[in-house]
Amino acid sequence: MPCRRAETGPREWIDRGRTLRFTFEGRSYEGHPGDTITSALLANGVSLLGRSFKYHRPRGAFSLANHDVNALFCTPQDTHIRGDVTPLVEGMDVRPVNVRGGLDNDRDRHLDRLGRFMPVGFYYKAFHRPKALFPYWERAIRKRAGLGRVDLDWTPDRRAKRHAHCDALVVGAGPTGLTAALDLADNGCSVVLVDENPHPGASFDYAHAGDETALAHRDALIASVHAHPAITLHTRAVALGHYADHLVPIATPDGIIKVRARGVLLATGVIEQPAVFHNNDRPGVMLASGAQRLLHRFGVAACRRAIMVVANGEGYAAALDLHAAGIEIAAIADMGTPKSQIPAARLLAAGIPVHRDHAVHAAHGESAVEAATLAPVGADGHCDLARAHRVPCDGIFMSVGWAPAGQLLYQAGGRLRYDDTLAMPVPESWPDTVVPAGRLNGVFDLDCQYEDARDAAARLRAALAGEPVPAVADHRDRVSHGAAWPIVAHAQSRNFVDLDEDIQLKDLEQAAREGFDNIELLKRFSTVGMGPSQGKHANQNAIRILARIRDQGIDATGTTTARPMFHPVRLEDLAGRRLRPTRRSPLHDAHAELGARFMDAGAWLRPAWYGAAGERAEAIAAEVRAVREAVGLIDVSTLGKIEVVGPDAARLLEAAYTLRAADLSVGAGRYALMVDESGVVVDDGLIARLGPEHFFVTASSGHAAATRRELTREAAIGAFEAWVVDRTSQLGSITIAGPRSRDLLAPLTDVDLDRKAFKGGIRTGHVCGQPARVLRAAFVDRVGFEVHADVAATRLIWARLMDDGAALGVRAFGVEAQRVLRLEMGHIIVGQDTDGLTDPFEAAMAGAVHFDKPVFIGRGALALLAERTQRRLVAFTLPADADTPLPRESHLVIEDGEIAGRVTSIAHSPTLGHAIGFAMVDTALADSERALTLRVDDGVLVRATRAATPFVARRGKRAQPESRS
């Protein structure tokens, strides 16, 4: 049983002077600041921490290194909390995940005995027949699957992403990382040093805890790092992945820091790998390095009497270390440590028996380790059970090999190869600016790690300085650090390769037998390495197993891809804080005073309508009536406003738009369409001529930047002497529309609004004494004017129009009324009535395409499309007294039982008293005069009568130019 030791360790993380109270499964416990959830529970003698994913087997602590995915916890607020690294907090209410009715009596624990009925690939093979039962199985499986429960009332904590720039990013603050960071900083580099632990030191703190020289050097290194002005140290900071141009996002408790480095030095170290034997998942079976972390960081003895299975010198060092701390090492089963690495004399002195060429064949005990069977083992992993013996113990520690934490190196384009001597992969090649060092690089000796760190730092510095990169000096160890085959067969299986997903040796063998004998297929079929730890303890053994089945080398077997993120990261941290500007019109405050209901229109906030919350439909209808019967005002400041100036201004516009512009006289304007090279409509607006070399161009709201961009590019391509200026933010715009609009505007302006003098186009003058441009606008009503002035003048003009208009019945109207009004007028909205494939002929705007000019964007495509229109926009109306539901946009048009089109716009017209709309339909149907059949929700069919536009009766001649917002 684990317990907290009385003696204080020299570098331990906990503060024994203070006590934290917390509960687990409702029972109260105490821990100390600096404890993790797991260390605090173990200190209280609680070793059963979780249940496994598939079989609900009892599980406990394993690595204490952020890989303990069988000891996940939840609190009322949060789930999937990794107990091995999550700090204990006062008052924490900790619960297990994936159990029903408590850890001890989990109602799903019987699943373990049903295991033989759930072989690998079982989910793919069962449950889909008979088909009718699948929903039942799906519900049952979904209920069991997954680990935690998401709190839907969760309060988001959206921290802004931060940015950092440095010459060198050093990942890992152990012996290698600390040394390298200092070397780089001492030589003029700005350095960011990150480590996932709360304190720098890494393997110093547990693997070298008994080495006074090493610890003195550790303290000096850390002090120098803290004192160095060129080093920024982040702890509890996980380097999530390596992206292009050395972008490495770092997850910290305060959110993500996006570090852009010129070079990266990886001192990410190694991940200890487990041995595979029967019941190797019982609480009490741990990695030796995990037991050392527990001891030296948290002062917790993982057990009282341990068996160790080792295959390297580190295992013996750990045995002596744990022995010195008072844990009895009952026996060591040695799976092939080189003789030179066995400290025979010290073991003898400590009274620790060593069984050479032995393995742990099985662990015993129901919910905790009670004994282990040791047996001689052959190279094939089969034990000689005739010579087996059973040893009582309450812990089994494994030190049988390592895997490099090479994920970031791999993502940066580095390659690893399997080193048969070290029995682990080592880096083979890497970019000059992403350099591995230390144990990641196969360097195990502490002094060699310092050397390797300085050597790697020197090579990185040379690469950053653009100098020739020195040759790599080999500091790698030349003795084995792991077993080539740490895997022991057992008649009853339950020898787990992957603890995340409950994958046993036989599962991988069976998957390979069924033909999934490629590493990527094996992974996907068996799910090995697909759990929360992403195979950090499973992949290396899985590759060994497959290599042996295929009778090929480890490198020939290959490896799966290590994609970001290195550890799971909170989604709220990935999302960061929403940094999206909201654009407000210069008239925003005036709208708010009028009771505007705002809506998002791209980046802009625009009034949707004005009035009380519950009176939406009435308010919109009243706004529409005001425009039709008197006068209305709408803020169209969101309209893109672009000026094109220069001797070639007309030529530029002719090249960019489908219409003629050169023949416009000063003051005249014309509706303008912009298409792309395939002839698809991308924008529309108005082009008006202010002078011989000066044009005013409007663009759809939200499209101004793109239109300016395209005009600028077209000017560059054509070498036109023309300049394009986006004035959208400088100018406010108001549309005055309705039969009384002339009466309202005329007294306020020096522009002659007489219908004969100002049929269309643009005038420059004053409105309310302010310099302004006035355009004719017919988008929402036959009679309309658009006033553009600078933002301060726009506020003044709006206020005056509202005041003076009161007597005329003026009313501000919003986007909703505008959509109805333009529909009544028969005008389309690009992007609503057109889609990403619509050409001008389909949009019934052939008149806006002027083929009498030799070149413009899309001319070639349009010349072909003019003859081949396959669908066309048509107008329709619905009877006023229809008791069928009102169709909505994107409802289908049905002809002879087939889809013949879709509704693009539809609205109830307050002016006409019935619904009107546009539909994009097949040409054959458009050419016929047949009524449309619209299919609304639930398959109900509605008949719509064809109509001509404008829907509202003409009151005289239609104004020519129009611009829209």
């Binding site: 852009r260 391509i717 495509a861």
Partner: protein
């Protein structure tokens, strides 16, 4: 590529740029339908050195950058006059 090392304005984050596609010369006005369709719809997509339009949004400038798509590195900036072509008016 998370950063564009623009030879003219220095290294800038890629989110400051809008991609404008490969620099391509439109076919002559009298080109046949196949040539036109090829120009409108087909892109080689083969790895290699491409000349591409990149618009730097904060400064409102277009750049024509030569990029090696195999290494995702910008090799040089091409003066726009080099890719300009006269647009006939009549």
């Amino acid at each position: 590529m998370k950063r564009i090392d623009c030879p003219e304005i220095g290294p800038r984050p890629i989110d400051e740029f809008t991609y404008g596609g490969e620099v391509r010369r439109p076919p002559q006005a009298d080109a046949d339908t196949a040539a036109l369709a090829d120009y409108v719809f087909n892109r080689a997509g083969a790895p290699g050195v491409l000349r591409e339009w990149w618009h730097h949004d904060p400064s409102g400038r277009w750049f024509v950058l030569e990029r090696d798509t195999r290494t995702d590195t910008v090799l040089r900036s091409i003066p726009i006059t080099e890719v300009a072509h006269a647009v006939p008016t009549r």
